[in-house]
Symmetry: C2
Subunit: 572 residues, 2 copies
């Protein structure tokens, strides 16, 4: 029997995994209702119509395949256990049914993580607990706290935030009848997610992304996460990999995390399957999470480098709005705005409010470009859904865009000499940061600053210095970014001392030196350098040169018309 992958569930996650399988001639069979999204993109008579919670249907699927996987965790793990233990079935199950069973129950999931030393928010079982017990918890943890259903909870359903003692009864009634637990409120500054691939040769992590939720439903994903230091990104990958290391079974897993104010991380939730926060990988990475899932469960080759980002990416969910065709409206309007965004509709028929009907991924050379591309589409999605137009950005990078140029000086006494250059950066809308860091008085901070500059997005450094003028050369020694040196005319020698200190660097560490006090040229040179890779910056330098030319030509005409002496008179 050839390799056949059976899917419990035929929603959009199954659909996109099957699209990846189709590209590889990998045979798949789907168990779900009639014309579900996954079945639409794979025509054959072997699919099973039925529920992925129905044991008989699951066994029927198992007979048809060599590997069973899930695209939803709300499956019947007991029939999966039975299939695994029954030698009549040859189908392997990935990930393991125990993993799915543990994850299905959010309380057990948290307990499992806690027992394996993976940090989560504090939580407590509410089995047999009364309103009074919860009040006691409220006193201990402070409000708000979360009341959560242990099972069948997703997209915010089954969660109830309790803001004071007075809310407790309402919360218990709203979640009534379900097994509950309580969770301490995590005061996070951002939500971060990492897709982890668990394969026979180890665990591998996709880049951490920033997730933005609206009404408890994922709305936007930024890959890589914005405004987060490299150290935190590495921590997020490490924590996610550690968490998935505690579970049995191969496949991709989604790990959702909270990033707290102190830059520490908590694991919030695990999904034992491809995840909405990984959809961007189709266009954003060389290998999508869906292909990675297939590789993991089928023991096909996979390595960390496969999960690299091709380009900064933003994903926007297309959610059902007030009308059944709202998603189609978003699609058509998005197509009218740009065709650089890739649209994925899920073939779900009429929309229900808040239902995931499709998604859009934008990729671009820079995150700022991706943000500019996606912004009008987000506006339209909000408008169609009847949401007030607002651009959700935790720390909007377009309002305070990542600086491309660092203007540094050893002392604020150099600032007046840098003013002309800074005004040019401003005029050309080149994002910059101006900082004081001294080679002599803050040597360690200066070194750290220069070393981390590139990771923070800086592309060129302009450094002013006078006298011994070590700053440009020292900055160039601590980074491989191009450094432009502006010799400042200090008290002696007309600035010649500064110029020699800056320009006469030893072989190996270049500083691009401009004229004494000439921060204008430093700024223009920085823009020329940016223009090497950025057509927009190029256009700006060309426009500047053009204006300069016209200014001179205009003056020449005036000189011709007025005569030299009259001109001279007006000058004084």
């Amino acid at each position: 029997m050839d390799q056949v992958v059976g899917f419990l569930g035929g929603g959009q996650l199954g659909r996109m995994t099957i699209e990846a399988a189709n590209d590889l001639n990998i045979k798949c069979v789907v168990l779900d209702q009639g014309h579900s999204p996954a079945k639409q993109v794979l025509a054959h008579a072997e699919h099973v119509d039925g529920s992925f919670k129905d044991p008989a249907s699951v066994k029927k699927l198992a007979e048809k395949c060599t590997t069973i996987t899930v695209e939803i965790e709300h499956v019947d793990t007991y029939v999966m256990e039975e299939i695994e233990k029954d030698p009549n079935f040859r189908a392997k199950i990935e990930p393991h049914w125990q993993t799915i069973r543990t994850i299905q129950n959010k309380y057990n999931q948290k307990l499992h993580l806690h027992q394996h030393g993976v940090r989560t928010a504090e939580f407590e079982d509410l089995e047999g607990k009364s309103e009074e017990d919860i009040k006691t918890l409220g006193q201990k943890w402070g409000y708000p706290l979360m009341l959560k259903s242990k099972t069948e909870a997703y997209d915010g359903r089954g969660n109830f935030p309790v803001k004071s003692d007075a809310d407790i009864l309402e919360a218990m009634q709203a979640l009534g009848g379900r097994p509950l637990y309580a969770e301490r409120w995590a005061n996070f500054k951002a939500e971060v997610a990492v897709m982890v691939v668990k394969a026979k040769n180890g665990e591998f992590a996709y880049p951490p992304v920033e997730t933005v939720h609206e009404d408890s439903i994922l709305k936007l994903v930024f890959a890589p996460a914005r405004n987060v230091s490299k150290g935190v990104l590495q921590q997020a990958q490490k924590l996610a990999t550690k968490a998935i290391g505690t579970f049995k079974g191969k496949g991709v897993y989604g790990v959702e995390m909270f990033l707290l104010e102190d830059d520490s991380l908590l694991v919030n939730e695990i999904a034992p399957r491809p995840h909405n926060s990984g959809h961007y990988t189709i266009e954003g990475c060389y290998m999508s999470q869906f292909q990675a899932h297939l590789h993991a469960i089928l023991d096909l080759p996979i390595a960390q480098e496969d999960l690299e980002l091709r380009e900064p990416s933003i994903m926007l969910n297309i959610l059902g709005g007030e009308t059944t065709d709202s998603h189609e409206k978003v699609k058509m309007k998005a197509l009218h705005i740009t065709r650089k965004a890739h649209i994925h509709m899920y073939g779900k028929g009429p929309a229900r409010k808040g239902r995931k009907m499709g998604h859009i991924t934008v990729t671009a050379k820079t995150m700022a470009q991706a943000e500019a591309l996606v912004q009008p589409i987000v506006d339209i999605a909000d408008e169609v859904r009847g949401k007030p137009q607002k651009w959700i950005q935790l720390q909007p990078s377009s309002q305070s865009p990542t600086p491309l140029v660092a203007v540094i000086m050893g002392s604020d006494s150099d600032l007046p000499k840098l003013e002309a250059g800074i005004r040019i950066l401003d005029k050309f809308s080149i994002p910059y940061e101006a900082r004081i860091t001294s080679a002599h008085r803050t040597p360690v901070w200066m070194a750290e600053y220069a070393e981390s500059a590139r990771l923070r997005g800086i592309k060129v450094i302009i450094s002013a210095a006078g006298g011994a003028a070590h700053l440009p050369g020292m900055a160039a020694s601590h980074t491989c970014l191009p450094v432009i040196g502006v010799p400042i005319k200090a008290s002696n020698f007309d600035g010649l001392d500064s110029m020699f200190s800056i320009v006469q660097m030893p072989r190996g560490v270049p500083v691009a030196t401009v004229g004494v006090n000439n921060s204008t040229n430093a700024a223009l040179l920085a823009i020329r350098i940016l223009g090497v890779g950025d057509p927009e910056a190029w256009d700006k330098t060309v426009a500047f040169a053009e204006q300069n030319k016209n200014d001179v030509l205009a003056k020449d005409v005036r000189l011709l018309e007025e005569g030299a002496l009259a001109y001279l008179q007006k000058m004084s």
Copy 2:
């Protein structure tokens, strides 16, 4: 009735177009045999089983859809004409049946292009012609010449190269029974193809690609075409757009061209549908040729900018080999080499020799990286097909890459001072050109050189100068590229004269000045500047700094171990 697209033909081109349609919730119906590749990725009962050449089946399809399109040109255009003229059918046909009918017949296609002023190779009808007539042609054009079947010709089938008088009878017999024409041999240095989108708002062209054939079957596509000047690329887009402008009907068209030794272009062949040379667009561009085809035939929005290349791309066809599973072997081996290559298998079942079973697309930041990634996969594809291992490269781009750095000097007397910098560019494999151009003795040529530098691909200019030292500043006045000035120590003033001339540029025109005679730092600065946009160049500067650091540390260890005086002794 909702919009429904009917496809005549269900091969891989239809399959990939339907994958694009699925992403957009666009309904499709396919006419072809049973389980054809296109039907596999779209499950519903409305497909039509039958031949796209059978009038009754075509009419059956037409009843089910609002737009009919083709994924193969060997269709029955007479039934299409009938459908267009019969008001009972509401289905529009795109592109127009007349276009398909003209293109189906290669002789008529050439005649059409010729009549519309589109340059092709010389050709002549052979209807009613004898062996003697062909000999006369051979004398007129010279050998080899091509004998071609007018109809049902593709992938080299229906073509016979005639090398001498003696071949003529054999050729006529081999192509026997079919209507023939003769074509003069085009002595091309490369084959170039352009996908053109003909939409309601005009014609738009994808980037010209370089195509490489083996045994008359397309094997490799390089996007963009390598080693071709920008001017030729523009000519290719212009010629392709002109050619498609002469045909009726919307959709994407493939235009295959010959690039002759004198850089002029001939149109070789037109395909009125998505084309193998455009498969790279799925990963290589923001909008694939398949989505573009749908947008064109359905009047969805489209613009030139949508067709931009995301990254340099190479496509390799997976062709059937000696065994029926050869394509699966290529796939598995390719997966073991890298997962950065995207594999598309077509679901065609057992392979036939030379049949297109799938393709692989590699994208990378640079063409050189893409070439390095694809090379081992090409080797494996060759090996599996029993072909001798050889790397087909018409003009391997790694041997004469476009220079990124221009090293200019006013006189060859400056060259010795530039040697150290040039050696660094060499060592780091940064493509450069060294030129002599003087601000004073060749002012016009110097200006032209600087002005055209960017269009030729130059990103940074290094300019040496001594004495009055005008060259760096004048070059910077004629281009907005970053210019690095190297003051050369001339006969007087220890180079201070040169330095002042270079560094003290007026506000508005910056020159990045390095130390006197320090071309080493000029080269390193150039690489740092390239590193702003090119991670590879960045890695090189980091590696250089690392090696410098290690050199110093090693010397320090030696100094410590040997003692200062012993060390000093060895130095002399």
